[in-house]
């Protein structure tokens, strides 16, 4: 932390000032506060509190006319902040830790601010924080955030600097709004034509900002509760051609085979060697970023237009070794069963394994049922019937299962749970009966948006179901959650699908127009994503082609950038020219100037030393037809100018008379003519 000193640039006037006044400090603090808004959510609250406290302390000091606290206070504070940061993050690398560090630095910088220069440093940090907030993308309201930050900082800079500080708050805001307005076209052109990178230069390893929501690769009933309530979008799908029925929209994610009595885990299955059947559905997927190698595809994916994507042994689309989801891909799937190739013995063993001694009551139940219904299909139907008939409830807030045998607890004691509980319990029962079974997690359904034809799948659509192996038919999907009697679904969830988001439930029931609005908003969001956030080299090339810019891309882009820069400066100069034109504040003077300009076009130019009377006499001599009018106007001007003060409306009447004066068709005699061939203007 450098100690603030008076800047050399501050000039003699600044050197004389002792303490930084309240105004500039408050404006800079407001900028920091604004830029902090979207960042605070992802950072520990104490960081925001510390920044707020530092700003508050400095502002209180400033209102009392005080200066920054002495170094003996500031240094320990800075060290304390850094130590706390390290304890919190264990690193200063990475976006979250870096953002927190920058924020604290800005707060402390305000605390120690002694000169305009310190505040300039804070503004630079504010810009940096803005980029940190925007790097991850975001909704279209981020555009408003971006503009607001630029606007407020520009106004703050006007207030910080300026030895005169003649600009009031409103003037500063209006002025910076105009600057921003003038900057927008150039910024837009730069954004459109600045060459984009096809591949990043470097990556920050592993860490994203905070937790990216999405399904994990384990399932232990109790895990899904957070997820099911989140209304964030997981992905969108747009079907090209036929669309499956809503009840068939099972978006398969990771398949979980390994069970330890409590949690289900993923087991590496290698890659599929079988060729899947003919694809029935083609669709475009747009995935929100998450950190796993699988891709949520409809039921049984057949192909995907994505480099590095393969089908795993359990029929999931994966990209080995990649952990960031692609933005968009085209894929095709089928919903028909896979057909009956015999099950590999190793797989059969894996998919019937249960940890010894776990969940004994469930196993006993399975054995009992299996004796009653020896056929696998009948056995499965019996379990589903039990879920339907017995008092099993569907709820997003089930009682916790803390015992050693959670499946037993759920099946016989609590009987309350959501998809994860039912899928897990079903798979345990099936395995106990010797039927190969596995848990599949993913999403079910989605919301169809009629405005853009997208299916929007949210985190609240997360679901878990089972797949069982039936000899001669292959892996079949069983959704035990669907078996629960509708009257035992938690009433707050009853309206939507089995696992609806709370938002969908609320708007679906109460206000259809609100639902329509939400859908439109979502269509807008898609547009934002596709056109703005995903604008890249290819879209840029398409734009150049549409603009008929010849030549290779880079040269074309450079030419467009240069043209934009040139045009924008011409535009600025044109604006300035109009404003820089000498313009008398005096209405009377203006009107008289207009009169002489009109007469000059007719051929008689007023000499600078010529008074109105002399001028009128000369005009009358040279242009007899103009004479009477000009003499009358000049007399009126002289009387208004040099006579006793009069009412404004007489001046206004004079202005109107000058405007009405048209020296048409008149020409001065040859010798005096200044611009004989000047085109006559009828403009004014």
């Amino acid at each position: 932390m450098r100690r603030g000193r008076h800047s050399r640039d501050g000039g003699p006037a600044a050197a004389g000032a002792s303490a930084l006044p309240f105004g500039p400090l408050a404006w800079t603090s407001a900028c920091l506060g604004l830029v902090w808004l979207p960042l605070a959510r992802d950072l520990p609250p104490w960081v925001s509190a510390a920044v707020g406290a530092a700003i508050g302390a400095r502002l209180v000091l400033a209102t009392r006319g005080g200066d920054a606290p002495p170094a003996a206070i500031r240094w320990p504070l800075a060290l304390l902040a850094i130590a706390l940061l390290f304890v919190e993050f264990r690193t200063f690398n990475g976006l979250a830790a870096g953002t927190a560090l920058l924020g604290l630095t800005a707060g402390l910088k305000i605390l120690e601010a002694r000169s305009a220069r310190d505040l300039y440093v804070v503004v630079l940090i504010v810009y940096f924080l803005g980029v940190a907030a925007l790097l991850a993308g975001g909704g279209f309201w981020m555009l408003g955030y971006l503009l607001a930050v630029c606007w407020l900082t520009a106004a703050a800079l006007l207030r910080i600097d300026g030895s005169v500080r003649g600009l009031g708050a409103r003037t500063a805001l209006a002025y910076s709004a105009r600057v921003l307005l003038h900057a927008l076209p150039l910024a837009l052109a730069m954004w459109l034509f600045f060459p984009r990178l096809a591949a990043p230069l470097w990556r920050i390893g592993g860490e994203g900002r905070g937790a990216v929501s999405g399904l994990g690769d384990t399932l232990s009933p109790g895990d899904l509760d957070d997820l099911a309530l989140s209304d964030d979008i997981a992905f969108r799908a747009h079907f090209i051609g036929p669309t499956p029925s809503r009840g068939a929209l099972y978006w398969r994610g990771p398949v979980l085979d390994e069970f330890d009595g409590r949690a289900w885990r993923r087991h590496d299955r290698g890659f599929s060697r079988t060729v899947p059947g003919r694809s029935a559905y083609h669709y475009r997927l747009e995935l929100e970023p998450y950190r796993h190698d699988w891709i949520y595809a409809l039921d049984r994916p057949v192909s995907a237009a994505l480099p590095g994507a393969v089908l795993s042994g359990d029929g999931v689309l994966v990209r080995p070794g990649r952990d960031s989801a692609p933005a968009t891909l085209l894929a095709s799937s089928t919903t028909a069963p896979a057909g009956a190739s015999p099950l590999d013995r190793r797989v059969r063993r894996l998919d019937t394994r249960l940890p010894a001694g776990s969940n004994p009551r469930s196993r006993a139940l399975a054995r009992l049922l299996h004796r009653e219904y020896p056929a696998d299909v009948q056995f499965i139907a019996a379990i589903l019937a039990r879920f339907h008939r017995d008092p099993y409830y569907y709820t997003l807030t089930p009682p916790p299962l803390l015992g050693r045998n959670p499946v037993d607890e759920f099946l016989f004691d609590t009987k309350r749970g959501f998809c994860g509980h039912y899928a897990s319990a079903f798979a345990v029962l099936a395995r106990a009966a010797g039927i190969p079974a596995r848990v599949v997690t993913g999403y079910f359904g989605g919301t169809f948006n009629p405005f853009d034809g997208d299916w929007v799948v949210r985190q609240s659509d997360a679901h878990a179901w089972d797949e069982v192996w039936i000899a001669g038919r292959g892996w079949l999907r069983v959704d035990p959650t669907a078996a629960i009697a509708p009257q035992r679904v938690d009433p707050s969830l009853r309206d939507g699908s089995r696992t609806p988001g709370p938002f969908a439930v609320a708007i679906g029931r109460d206000a259809p127009w609100l639902a329509a609005f939400a859908l439109r908003l979502d269509a807008l969001r898609t547009l934002w994503r596709e056109r703005i956030l995903a604008y890249g080299p290819r879209a840029q090339g398409a734009l150049l082609t549409r603009l008929h810019v010849p030549g290779p891309d880079a040269a074309g882009l450079a030419a467009m950038l240069a043209a934009a820069l040139g045009l924008s400066f011409v535009w600025l100069a044109w604006i300035a020219r109009r404003q820089l034109r000498t313009r008398s504040r005096d209405e009377l003077q203006r009107a008289f100037g207009k009169l002489t300009a009109k007469v000059a076009r007719a051929g008689v130019v007023r000499f600078p030393y010529e008074g109105p009377e002399d001028y009128a006499r000369r005009v009358a001599a040279l242009c007899p037809d103009l004479g009477p009018t000009v003499e009358k106007l000049c007399r009126e001007y002289a009387s208004l100018r040099y006579g006793a003060p009069t009412a404004d409306d007489r001046v206004r009447a004079f202005g109107a008379a000058v405007r009405a004066f048209r020296p048409r068709g008149s020409r001065a005699s040859a010798g005096i003519r200044r611009r004989p061939s000047a085109p006559r203007s009828t403009r004014d």
């Binding site: 300039y120 971006l146 230069l201 890249g536 000498t582």
Partner: protein
């Protein structure tokens, strides 16, 4: 760094002087004579925007890029506005000013803004001094530029500078006005000796005669001209309905006081000058005719503020080789 900067500034100034020649005041700031460069803050911002752009490109963050480009364009618009803040201003200055040693000499400037554009944060620099002001659209502002307190002597400046960092402080635009400014710093009055008059008799400058009552030297009325002492006004004539008039006294040539360097043998130079200065001021206050004799210079006896100024400037310039 600083020395390098000063050298660069001096070269630029010399180049500008060759390019534009001397300026006649009042001068108008035209496009050709405005120079503009980014300030340190501007360069820091440029570096930051560069970093932001690279980060935005690397992470394919279109929003981050939009932010960086918006700031960059704001900077460019700011550059244009900085330049525009000086364009078309009229500038005038009083070329000479007077002060006493130890006081701050003050130059007087007038800035004229005939355009429809408010001008903010204009700064005039001359030597060590600087002064700031705003000039709203269609107005004229005068401002006073105090130099640092100076010792006796003559301060001559070949040019002064009009500059601005408005609006955001990222750029500085400036122009050089190649017009001479001179500050005469007279010695601070001091000393307790008495001046000699023409007859050779030493005496304090005679106390001011009450010209309004004593009419021995009354030589008639003259038309009023601004600047004459009020007590010389012919109030009676005015009261009788005549034109404003001034009583004129036949200057008592024989009574002119000679303020003489040689009368102060034995004193050091500055003390002598200080004493001479005191006498000049006292004579001026008394409205008395006086002449000044310096080793290198001689001022014929006269009266009035012009004589007083001439005398003080002669003292300021004494021994500096500056006429």
């Amino acid at each position: 760094m600083s020395a390098w900067r000063h050298a660069a500034a001096a070269r630029l100034r010399a180049w500008a002087a060759r390019r534009h020649g001397r300026d006649a005041l009042p001068a108008v700031v035209d496009r050709r004579r405005i120079y503009i460069l980014p300030t340190g803050r501007g360069l820091a911002l440029a570096a930051l925007v560069g970093a932001m752009t690279i980060a935005g490109l690397n992470y394919a963050s279109n929003l981050g890029l939009a932010f960086a480009f918006l700031i960059a364009s704001t900077g460019l618009v700011g550059m244009h506005r900085c330049h525009r803040n000086l364009l078309g201003l009229g500038i005038d200055a009083l070329p000479e000013t007077d002060a006493f040693a130890g006081d701050r000499p003050r130059f007087h400037f007038t800035l004229t803004n005939p355009s429809g554009l408010d001008r903010h944060d204009l700064e005039i620099r001359c030597g060590t001094g600087a002064a700031n002001c705003d000039v709203p659209a269609g107005t004229v502002r005068s401002l006073e530029l105090p130099l640092a307190a100076a010792p006796r002597g003559v301060l001559r400046f070949g040019h002064f500078e009009l500059r601005t960092r408005f609006p955001f402080g990222w750029f500085r635009a400036w122009t050089y006005v190649q017009a001479p400014l001179t500050a005469y710093v007279a010695p601070r009055p001091a000393g307790a000796r008495r001046a000699q008059d023409d007859t050779g008799a030493t005496g304090a400058p005679a106390p001011a005669r009450d010209d309004a009552t004593g009419d021995a030297d009354f030589a008639g009325l003259r038309p009023y001209a601004p600047g004459v002492p009020l007590k010389h006004m012919a109030w009676k004539a005015l009261a009788h309905g005549g034109e404003p008039a001034v009583r004129h006294y036949a200057g008592a040539k024989g009574q002119a006081l000679w303020i003489d360097w040689n009368a102060l043998e034995g004193l050091p130079t500055e003390a002598r000058l200080a004493q001479l200065c005191r006498w000049i001021l006292e004579s001026g206050r008394a409205g008395r005719r006086f002449g000044l004799r310096l080793p290198d210079r001689r001022l014929e006896p006269a009266t009035g503020p012009a004589q007083r100024r001439r005398a003080l400037r002669a003292l300021a310039a004494f021994g500096t080789g500056d006429a």
